[in-house]
Symmetry: D2
Subunit: 313 residues, 4 copies
């Protein structure tokens, strides 16, 4: 497995969401096709890392990982077919990559794996002055550097962990163990990033829900500056900027106009380099201390997901 490739986010306010992701958040639009916008951060090397889809609800469409090689794709597909998880099969209809193999986790989130991809080839104005940058650094919007991770909700984090280990060969870098013995959250990586995907326990009464998607900024200062931009543009800031205790990431969470939670994050120079990294386990008591510098986690962070549960929020 190479890395998280892209995330499809659903919106019932397509135009407003697209305006947010381009003008305020600072992603670049690769193409508009039918009911979908294909977006990428300026240093993402692929055609898109965010697919924004017009839909009757908000929430997650699918989660896509790129594998390390054609052979790795074959091995993964065989393992998934043998696993008993629900298989959708091969699809081949996206402008951003070749055929992809789709399957579902036990909570209804759709996943896919692909090898063949479409590199983003900048033209003229969008070519960076530095040839090792995938496209020009924008001078408007927040403009994070690259896709970082996403967070899903599930009623059984242990079952989700089994899915990630079996189907994606993911490693668990950190997790929360509740007093009742259940896992409260689990952070997964398939490379040297500290995590590509997190799963936390659903406390809002929904099913198959989405918690957030995150892009990475080069510096923490970019996130402080982003907070002012969010404020000036009337975007709901849910919490932050602050530093997470788990994973130590500096964060800012907002709700885009349709209600999907979107994060900006910075991990500094932190990487998981040890091939035999031992999962860090946090107790419920440790988590009660709040975030790294003592901020108590805001209630909506535990209950708000998309799509929203009617009558709950």
């Amino acid at each position: 497995m190479a890395h998280l490739g892209h995330v499809e986010v659903l919106t019932d306010r397509f135009e407003e969401s697209l305006d947010f992701f381009t003008r305020v958040y600072g992603l670049k639009l690769s193409t508009l096709s039918g009911e979908c916008a294909y977006l990428r951060a300026w240093d993402d090397y692929e055609f898109h890392t965010l697919k924004l889809t017009r839909h009757e609800t908000t929430g997650i469409g699918h989660v896509s990982y790129r594998v390390s090689s054609p052979a790795a794709l074959e091995r993964r597909v065989a393992a998934i077919k043998a696993s008993g998880y629900k298989v959708i099969g091969w699809v081949e209809d996206e402008p951003g990559h070749g055929r992809a193999f789709q399957f579902d986790d036990p909570f209804g989130h759709r996943f896919e794996l692909y090898w063949d991809t479409r590199r983003y080839l900048p033209e003229d104005q969008d070519r960076s002055a530095l040839k090792n940058q995938a496209s020009a650094v924008p001078n408007s919007g927040i403009a994070p550097r690259r896709l970082d991770h996403l967070n899903l909700l599930s009623e059984d984090v242990t079952a989700f962990r089994d899915f990630m280990v079996t189907c994606l060969g993911a490693r668990v870098t950190e997790q929360i163990r509740l007093n009742n013995g259940r896992l409260g959250g689990c952070w997964f990586t398939v490379n040297n990033k500290t995590y590509d995907l997190a799963c936390t326990e659903e406390h809002g009464g929904g099913h198959g829900r989405f918690h957030h998607v995150t892009y990475a900024t080069d510096q923490r200062e970019d996130i402080l500056r982003a907070a002012d931009i969010m404020l000036e543009n009337g975007i709901h800031i849910e919490t932050g900027p602050h530093k997470h205790a788990v994973q130590g990431t500096f964060f800012l969470y907002v709700w885009e106009p349709a209600g999907n939670r979107v994060e900006l994050a910075n991990s500094g120079a932190r990487l998981i380099l040890a091939p035999d990294w031992e999962t860090v386990e946090w107790t419920e008591e440790e988590r009660k201390k709040g975030q790294a510098w003592g901020l108590k986690t805001i209630e909506t962070f535990h209950t708000h997901g998309t799509p929203p549960v009617p009558g709950k929020e």
Copy 2:
């Protein structure tokens, strides 16, 4: 004397200069009037702090200070009239302030003083979410916070210093003493800023020339980010980012499309609070160490001014 009010910069490439100052540098356009653009940074409280004027040359138009009170204006005008420096007299034709008293330094740079001003009153979209900010923080361009200072060139810095003390009641916070006994540079303030105006010795063979104008950013990181924006937009970066030894300012110097030098600077929390501050004097030997972290000053920094001297650069 309250503070440096605005600077008029001349350009023989008006459209390109205006595009630079608005789209790249991130100033806001208050109005276009005749051959002039009136610009301000997002937290400048007045109507304009930069007047950009279409002209057959580059260089400086005039330098304008706001006084502390109507009475202070009267006292200053009396002092200037008594001083023997060249007096132009009262003018009253600007959209950004009331009548101003104009006079020249011995090198042909025009100065003016005024009390009556026009506050910038933001409307709708341009109103900040925070009522203590003069207008909304932009989400495009570099967008420094406020006008900081300017730098003029003269053949006799000591004579210029006498002018600043006599006519503006300025204090000298730092200066360079050359081995030949002359002043190589002088930094002046009329308030708690470390300087509003600097004068350095002309080494390029010109007369009445302009060295640079500077806006202040809130953080040093804004200047690092600005360097990438300058690079991507094809703006000539002359030197920096680096830290000056004199005044300790973190800086970046570029040439706007017409060739006028423009700086971004950050002084951190440094202020001149002591009412009896003793001028810091640097020797020529000390200045040979280069900038604060050892960067040797680039040759053009000593010779390039605007308007350029024909055949010299």
Copy 3:
């Protein structure tokens, strides 16, 4: 009036407080004399800006301002004597400055004014490599650059404002107007800083209490880094890092080991340059939005002061 000179803070855990202010907070010890430690930040030009005094309680000792000239001192003393506020008179027993004129505000906080001061003259190791810096930049502790401001509590902010205007000639840059018509808080300056002193309404049931003292860092990043240092050293972080709506300052509040609140703050390039600045007034409704980026103000911030009120916290 030139600037806030120093603040005397009382501690009933002298050794622990001194360890905090030197090893963790990064102030430099000018001298220990009797029951007092005289401390300064590395770029404070005077002998001390913090006097830490062993005492049976915590809280504030006195607040000291330096005036602009000997004549200004005489004028101020005359005004105070004529004002009817409680006068203590001249004292002359401090290592850090000459004679000072003392008087009290209506809530029992002691103030003093002085002109004659003792500049800090660094020796050898403590001399900075840059001669315009008052002493060497430390490479341990948080090491803010200079004293910034303090905050007092009073039962009647309007009465306190009258005191500040009458006795110190202070300007009010921002204030909070409560729905009941009272002032909830008031921010004062005597120079171009956005404030030297704030007074907020006492909600904890005490009298003559102290809310916090603040030093300024050069960058917001210094405050993020400070939060990690506080955390690793077991210091209670009360709130932050975050950005204040009022004054727009980026802040971090901690309680030093004896319980006095201490802040680190960064104002970016914000200054009050307008000589006719109009007080910004915030309504109670506006303040309910929380801090600039939406953080709800923590309850202790409204009630904790020193000395603590028995049985209240």
Copy 4:
């Protein structure tokens, strides 16, 4: 191959070098053993990442990589034995890891590979408040987060590249192609970091020399702050802070007291996630533009290596 494990640096001024690396640079001393100091950054998970050895010269001792698994070690050793490069064989005498297999590149630099390692287990005071951090964040010195990379010099970069690909299975992320057809420099990675090791052409007349070793900071601001600390401690700053065009890293280069070049670097959020990354090749003409923001590379950067070549510098 998992990651660069540690670097051994030789010094003929052991005490001064050790003082630099601990007090100024901010590494932690794991142990002193015989003529060697074993050091690590605060978030390095192993016992040491820098071995500082008392020696009659400066320069590089050996370069050590950790492999991904015991099986990977066997495969690598077999490949190296079959390669024809000079084999030293197994050694087992270090406090920081188990047995290691040693071999030389064609220029006399010694390499080793190992699997069994010794994790750093912090005690008491050195335990971080956050359990996912390898040890407490220091509040003195520059204190970078982790080992990043090293740079070796060789007379034939193409031959060095063959060695890295054959013996370490490294990928080439960027390289410089000179007009004469030779490689001027090559940047290698074995994981998602943009590089672990660089090799540049020897222009100083030496053989088997060392160019620099680098630790990573979390933020660029840490590097600006570091420059002040270097300055105040009398450390020779060679160049920077600035941004490299190649790899886009924000850098600061100094010479530690014995003359070995040491870097601090920050890559922001940049990673090599593409499994089929195509080597970025820079031409000699492109490199003549200087560093990213136009800084001309200082002459000593091309010629200074350790040990120094007698009579050359």
